[in-house]
C-alpha cells in the first residue's frame, strides 16, 4: 500500500516537474499555445470595443453583458464551427485545406525561442535574437500559397500583394535587429535584456531602430494603414476570399498571432524585457520567473494595443506607396540605426 501511494505521488510529482519545466511550459502554456488563445480572445475583443468607442457605437454588447461582451469571440467561434466549409471545384484541394492549418501553427513557431526570465528558457542558445525573426519569416510564404491555391483572381492579386509587402518590410526589420545586436554586443535575447538593466531601455539607446522595427511590425501583421493584402474594398478579402467556416478563423487569426509574437520580441529588445524599469528583480527564482512573465505580458499588451489602435485613425495605403515607404524611409532609417549603434559602441557609451 505504501508502495502504491508512494509511486502515485512520485508519478504526479514527475508530471508536475515536466509541466513546469521550460521546455514544456514555454511552448504550450506561457507564452505559448494556451496564452495565445487567451490573448487572441482578449485582443480581438479589445480592438472591437476600442474601435466602437471611437466610432460612437457599442461594439460587442449582448453576449456577456455584465463584462462588456468579452467572450464575443467564443460565440463567433461556435458559429464558424458549425458553418459549412466549401471547397471550390477548381481549387487545389489538398493545399487549400492544409495551408491555413500550417499557417496558424507556423506563425506560432517563434515562441519557443522567447525567454521569460534569465533562467527560464526553452532553448539554451545564444542566437535567440536572430532566431525569432528568422522563424517568423516562414509564415508569409504560406499566405502566398493560400492565395494561389484558391484559383480566384482576387486571391491571386492578394497573394501577390503579400509577396510585395514581404520584400518591403523584411530587410529593414533584419537590419534594425542587426543594429540592436551591435548595440548589445551579442545575439542572445537574455544578454539583450541584461544589457538594458542599469542603463536604459533599448528604445532610448537606439530610437531609430525602434521606429524602423515598429513600422515593420505594423506591416507584417496587416495593421492599418498597411492592411493592403486584405484590402476589403478593392480585392474582397485578398488571399482568404474563398474560405469559410473554421478555416476563415485560422486565416484571419494568423496576423494577430504574428502581432503577438512580434510584440513580445519588441518588448524584450526595446522595452527592457522582464524588468519593470531598469532595476533587476531580486526575489527567489520562482517568484522572479512569475513576476517576469507578468511584466513581459503587460509590456507586450501595451505594444499590441498601440498597434491595434491605428485602425481607427488611418485609411489604407496603396501597394506601391507601401513599397516606397519600406525602401525609402524604413530602409534608410534602419541603416542610420546601424550607424548610430556603431557610433555609440565606438564612443564607449555601451
Amino acid at each position: 500500500m505504501m508502495d502504491a501511494t508512494a509511486t502515485a505521488v512520485q508519478i504526479i510529482l514527475a508530471i508536475w516537474h515536466f509541466i513546469i519545466s521550460p521546455e514544456f511550459f514555454i511552448p504550450i502554456v506561457f507564452p505559448g499555445l494556451i496564452t495565445v488563445l487567451v490573448v487572441l480572445l482578449g485582443l480581438i475583443w479589445f480592438e472591437r470595443k476600442l474601435t466602437a468607442k471611437v466610432q460612437l457605437r457599442y461594439g460587442p454588447y449582448y453576449i456577456a453583458k455584465h463584462v462588456g461582451g468579452v467572450i464575443q469571440l467564443m460565440a463567433d467561434l461556435m458559429r464558424y464551427l458549425f458553418q459549412e466549409f466549401i471547397i471550390p471545384k477548381d481549387a487545389d484541394k489538398r493545399v487549400f485545406v492544409l495551408a491555413p492549418i500550417m499557417l496558424f501553427t507556423l506563425t506560432l513557431l517563434p515562441v519557443i525561442a522567447i525567454p521569460i526570465s534569465s533562467t527560464f528558457t526553452a532553448i539554451h542558445s545564444d542566437l535567440t535574437l536572430l532566431l525569432v525573426p528568422t522563424l517568423a519569416t516562414l509564415a508569409p510564404l504560406l499566405v502566398i500559397i493560400i492565395g494561389w491555391s484558391s484559383n480566384n483572381k482576387y486571391s491571386f492579386i492578394g497573394s501577390l500583394r503579400e509577396g510585395y509587402m514581404i520584400m518591403s518590410y523584411e530587410i529593414p526589420m533584419f537590419i534594425s535587429v542587426l543594429a540592436m545586436a551591435v548595440a548589445y554586443n551579442s545575439l542572445s535575447l537574455i544578454q539583450a535584456v541584461q544589457k538594458q538593466t542599469g542603463i536604459a531601455w533599448g528604445l532610448v539607446i537606439n530610437p531609430l531602430a525602434a521606429i524602423a522595427f515598429f513600422g515593420a511590425l505594423l506591416m507584417t501583421s496587416s495593421r492599418f494603414p498597411f492592411d493592403v493584402s486584405e484590402a476589403e474594398s478593392e480585392i474582397v478579402v485578398g488571399p482568404y476570399t474563398e474560405y469559410s467556416g473554421i478555416f476563415f478563423i485560422f486565416c484571419l487569426g494568423a496576423p494577430y498571432i504574428k502581432l503577438y509574437i512580434y510584440s513580445l520580441f519588441f518588448s524584450l529588445v526595446f522595452l527592457g524585457g522582464w524588468n519593470p524599469l531598469v532595476t533587476p528583480l531580486t526575489a527567489s527564482p520562482i517568484i522572479n520567473a512569475i513576476l517576469s512573465g507578468i511584466v513581459l505580458l503587460i509590456k507586450a499588451g501595451i505594444v499590441m494595443a498601440v498597434a491595434v489602435y491605428m485602425r481607427t485613425i488611418f485609411g489604407r495605403f496603396r501597394i506601391d506607396q507601401v513599397l516606397k515607404l519600406g525602401w525609402h524611409k524604413l530602409f534608410a532609417l534602419s541603416i542610420l540605426a546601424v550607424i548610430l549603434s556603431l557610433v555609440l559602441v565606438g564612443l564607449g557609451v555601451l
Partner: protein, 388 residues
C-alpha cells in the same frame, strides 16, 4: 503561342467596393488599360411607370431613385409641372422648398463622404458621417412628417407649414455639425494617408469634364464654375448669398474638398433662409379655394395641408416643359410631354449619376487597380439614381 498578359477583372455586383453595378477592368500588372462600367442592375422603369400614373402619383415615383436627396428630385419634377399648370407660388412656399432642399444637400454629402471613407479604408469616417445624418433625419421628420422620402413639395406650394420651435432645433444641429466638421478635418481630410491616396489620382481636366458631361461637384472639382443655382436661379436662390465652390486640380482630393465646402455653404444658406422667411400662405390660393370647407378648418388648425379633390385628376395644359435643378450630386433635368390628360404622355428624367458614369472611364484609364474605389467614392455615384 504566349499567354495573354492582361487579367480581366469583374468588379461585379458581389463585391464590397462596387455598389449595385459591375465594373469590368482589364489590368496589365497593376495598371488599368481598359475600363467599362456595366450599369443597369437596378433599373426600375420609372419613366415607363410614370405614363400610367396620375401627375400626383408620380411624385413618390421620382423621389425614390435618390434616397438621400429626395426633395431635390421632387422639386425638379414640380417645377416642370408648374410651367404647364399656370399657378403662382407664394414666397413662403419658395423659401420652405429651399430649406428642405438644402437640408437634403447636407444629408447627401454626408452620405457620400461616409461611403468615400469606407472605400479608402477609414471605417471611422464611415461611422461618423452616417451617424451625423441622424440629426438631419430628425429635423426632416419635424418639418415634413417623414424621415427619408418626403413628398413635401406639391404643385402650388408645400404640404406643411414650419413648426413652432424649428428654428432653435436647426441652429442647435448646425452648431453640432460645425464642431463635427472640425473633427472630420483632423481625422480624414488632413490625414496623410488620405492625401497620399487621393492626391493626383483620377485627374479629369477642365475641357474633358465639360465635354464628357459630368456634373455637380465633380465638374466643379475640375475648375468649371457651373451651378444651376447661380446660372438659372429657381425658387428664391437669387435672394440668397452664397459662394460657388470650385477647385482647380481635378483629382479625387479636389472633389472631396468641394463637397466639404458645399456643406458649409448649405449651412450658410439655411441660416439666411430662416432669417428672411416671409410670412404668408404656404399653398397657392388658386388651389386652396378648392379645398372642402370642413377640411379647410382642419388645415387652418393643424398647419398640415389636405389636398383639394382636383389633385386626384390634375390635368395640365397640353404642351412640353423642361426644368433643371442642382441636386446634391449634380444637375437634374426633367422634360415632361403632356397631352392634356391626367397622366403624363412622356416623362424624361436625366439624373446626375447617369451623367457621371462617363467620368469613370476618363478618370481611371492608366491608373492603378487600387484607385478604383478611390475614384468611385470621389464621383459619388449612386446606382439606383443612375438606373432609375
Amino acid at each position: 503561342m504566349s499567354e495573354p498578359e492582361t487579367v480581366e477583372l469583374l468588379i461585379g455586383p458581389q463585391h464590397p467596393g462596387s455598389g449595385h453595378m459591375r465594373l469590368v477592368a482589364e489590368v496589365d500588372g497593376d495598371i488599368i488599360i481598359k475600363f467599362e462600367p456595366n450599369i443597369g442592375y437596378v433599373h426600375r422603369a420609372v419613366e415607363k411607370i410614370a405614363e400610367t400614373k396620375t401627375y400626383l402619383q408620380v411624385i413618390p415615383l421620382v423621389e425614390r431613385p435618390a434616397l438621400a436627396d429626395a426633395s431635390n428630385h421632387n422639386l425638379g419634377y414640380i417645377l416642370a409641372l408648374e410651367k404647364l399648370l399656370d399657378v403662382e407660388i407664394p414666397p413662403r412656399a419658395q423659401y420652405l422648398r429651399m430649406l428642405l432642399c438644402e437640408i437634403n444637400r447636407i444629408h447627401s454629402h454626408l452620405y457620400g463622404l461616409g461611403i468615400f471613407g469606407n472605400m479608402i479604408g477609414s471605417s471611422t469616417m464611415f461611422e461618423w458621417a452616417f451617424q451625423d445624418r441622424e440629426p438631419l433625419l430628425e429635423l426632416s421628420q419635424q418639418l415634413t412628417g417623414a424621415r427619408l422620402t418626403y413628398t413635401y413639395i406639391v404643385p402650388g406650394g408645400v404640404r406643411r407649414n414650419l413648426p413652432a420651435d424649428f428654428k432653435n432645433n436647426i441652429l442647435k444641429v448646425f452648431s453640432y455639425l460645425e464642431k463635427r466638421f472640425v473633427d472630420y478635418n483632423k481625422l480624414f481630410v488632413n490625414n496623410p494617408v488620405t492625401i497620399a491616396r487621393l492626391e493626383g489620382v483620377g485627374v479629369i481636366s477642365k475641357t474633358d469634364a465639360a465635354r464628357i458631361g459630368i456634373v455637380g461637384p465633380n465638374l466643379r472639382g475640375s475648375g468649371v464654375p457651373y451651378d444651376v443655382r447661380k446660372v438659372e436661379p429657381y425658387c428664391a436662390y437669387n435672394e440668397i448669398d452664397f459662394d460657388l465652390i470650385t477647385e482647380e486640380a481635378g483629382d479625387c482630393y479636389a472633389r472631396l474638398l468641394v463637397r466639404r465646402e458645399e456643406m458649409k455653404q448649405s449651412i450658410r444658406i439655411v441660416r439666411q433662409i430662416l432669417d428672411k422667411m416671409p410670412d404668408g400662405p404656404y399653398f397657392a390660393d388658386k388651389y386652396m379655394k378648392m379645398v372642402n370647407p370642413k377640411m379647410k378648418e382642419l388645415v387652418d388648425q393643424s398647419g398640415v395641408l389636405r389636398f383639394p379633390a382636383l389633385f386626384t385628376a390634375l390635368k395640365p395644359a397640353k404642351g412640353t416643359a423642361i426644368s433643371r435643378v442642382e441636386a446634391s450630386r449634380g444637375e437634374l433635368f426633367y422634360y415632361i410631354v403632356s397631352d392634356g390628360s391626367a397622366q403624363p404622355y412622356r416623362l424624361r428624367m436625366i439624373t446626375p449619376s447617369f451623367k457621371n458614369v462617363a467620368g469613370y472611364k476618363a478618370a481611371l484609364i492608366g491608373q492603378r487597380l487600387a484607385d478604383v474605389p478611390a475614384v468611385y467614392g470621389s464621383l459619388d455615384y449612386f446606382p439606383p439614381e443612375a438606373d432609375r
